[in-house]
Symmetry: C2
Subunit: 254 residues, 2 copies
DNA sequence: CCCGTGAAGTTGTATATACAGGCTAGTACA
DNA sequence: TGTACTAGCCTGTATATACAACTTCACGGG
């Protein structure tokens, strides 16, 4: 039934486990190849493969002569494309604030139940909040969270910690699916985001999985005039160990 | 100046070269590890690393007992997220057609020159075409291509082969950057896409690099009511060799 | 005090070797 | 004829060994 995993994969799992449990923090030193040889009774080539693949996958950074260190690149959002609005704003050096409009226990129905793969009537927490960048509304977050996944969700102060950050802290989110649309919003959304009549919205609809099942479903409305999504694609094989120049956009955005 | 690349990387480059030159077609057999040992005078472990990494990066598929074969997964779009509208429509089983509205040689100025990193006045080919799915307009492609990169661009019949496919055939596009916006378009765009007054557009602005320099800059307008972008994110390390279930969205789109 | 030098530890690469396990084709046998 | 088996090739993993290059740090000479 349960195939024995290869030795190098066991090593990877062990280290990933230490990272996601918090035992190893970003920038912490990971055991060197020789230390793994001693403590785990493997050959250096096996330890090398484990650490090299963790490097390729972005979990750690390796520097010849110095050692292997937990990467903090990954911790901010786990997946580059699926980021937290607060971090995104902070990255631009601006001030983030958010206002909780609704935070209530509800029964899932219709689209929400379908998206979360649960029966109609299952308990979900409904969150509605407006995120602002330097005081200007930039995202209306309309989110449903499986109550069984995040029991503390009703008490949490989401003005201080965003739902995204809170959910990530409970359990690493492992998979995400999103749809991006453009539409002219209804009055309610217009009011929340303080946008003109007839202005377009960029809508991101996102489902996120943890432990193999969907746990949260969010509709994110953004004012078309104040928000855009950016992405940068490089072919795999472009070594992660070389200096990461993730810069070079920005000028098109102005 | 030019650091000697490691042996395994030379092997990878060699095989990638054979694939992108067309010498090796999808599903063709790639030299086995032992054949590389003989012909390239390397150890089997080195050949193994080269082929294993090509597998991880999606260039080839390996089957224990049978051999290594060129993957066709990669050839359709090189980067999953940066796809060709014609392929995308074909994937849905619908009919794609396109109409060329403009195909002319121009001098780059302003935003275009800036985006392509060239002097004002450099020759660029300007393309404007409307793509339709089952006869319904779904994308207005407003593209500028560096004339020096694609000399045949003015003669090409883009109603038959999309610019994206044509450019990919000239040289593999290696890097892409895109910005996604929502906006209400002007009259001209409205007319091309046959959309209602006041309806939103999903706008994708994309720059693509080849051989280290930007070669094409495109603004893609889509009717908000008839088009959406979808994305699916899985953490790296989710082995590529296991059966790829890229399915599982679709139901949210209805 | 400063600088160079070298030792020790680290990653990066390359090789030879070994065994396990999957796949295929051909052969021997019933 | 058909079936079972096996030889041969393939990938997948694991180990021991070796050398190169980089980083840090301590030590010693100027």
């Amino acid at each position: 039934m349960n195939q024995a995993k290869p030795r190098y994969q066991q090593l990877k799992d062990l280290i990933i486990g230490r990272i996601s449990s918090g035992e190893l923090q970003p920038a912490d030193r990971v055991p060197s190849e020789n230390e793994l040889v001693e403590s785990m009774s493997v050959s250096r080539m096996t330890a090398n493969r484990a650490l090299r693949e963790l490097n390729d996958e972005g979990y750690v950074d390796r520097v010849a002569g110095r050692g292997t260190f937990v990467s903090d690149y990954r911790s901010q959002s786990h997946l580059l494309e699926v980021h937290n609005i607060a971090d995104e704003i902070a990255l631009r050096g601006h001030a983030h604030s958010s206002q909780v409009m609704r935070q209530s226990l509800q029964h899932a129905r219709g689209e929400v139940a379908k998206a979360l793969h649960v029966e109609q009537g299952t308990d979900v927490v409904h969150l509605l909040l407006v995120h602002a960048e330097n005081g200007v509304p930039i995202q209306l977050e309309d989110r449903h969270v499986l109550a069984s996944f995040a029991p503390g969700c009703l008490q949490q102060d989401f003005a201080a910690v965003t739902p995204s950050a809170y959910l990530t802290s409970i359990s690493p989110l492992q998979e995400a699916e999103q749809v991006v649309r453009a539409s002219v919003p209804n009055r309610a959304v217009q009011k929340y985001l303080d946008i003109e009549d007839g202005e377009a919205c960029l809508v991101v609809i996102r489902r996120t999985w943890s432990a193999g099942r969907p746990v949260t479903f969010a509709r994110l409305h953004h004012p078309g005039s104040r928000y855009e999504l950016t992405g940068h694609y490089t072919p795999p094989g472009t070594s992660r160990s070389t200096s990461s120049d993730v810069v070079q956009l920005e000028e098109l955005r102005q």
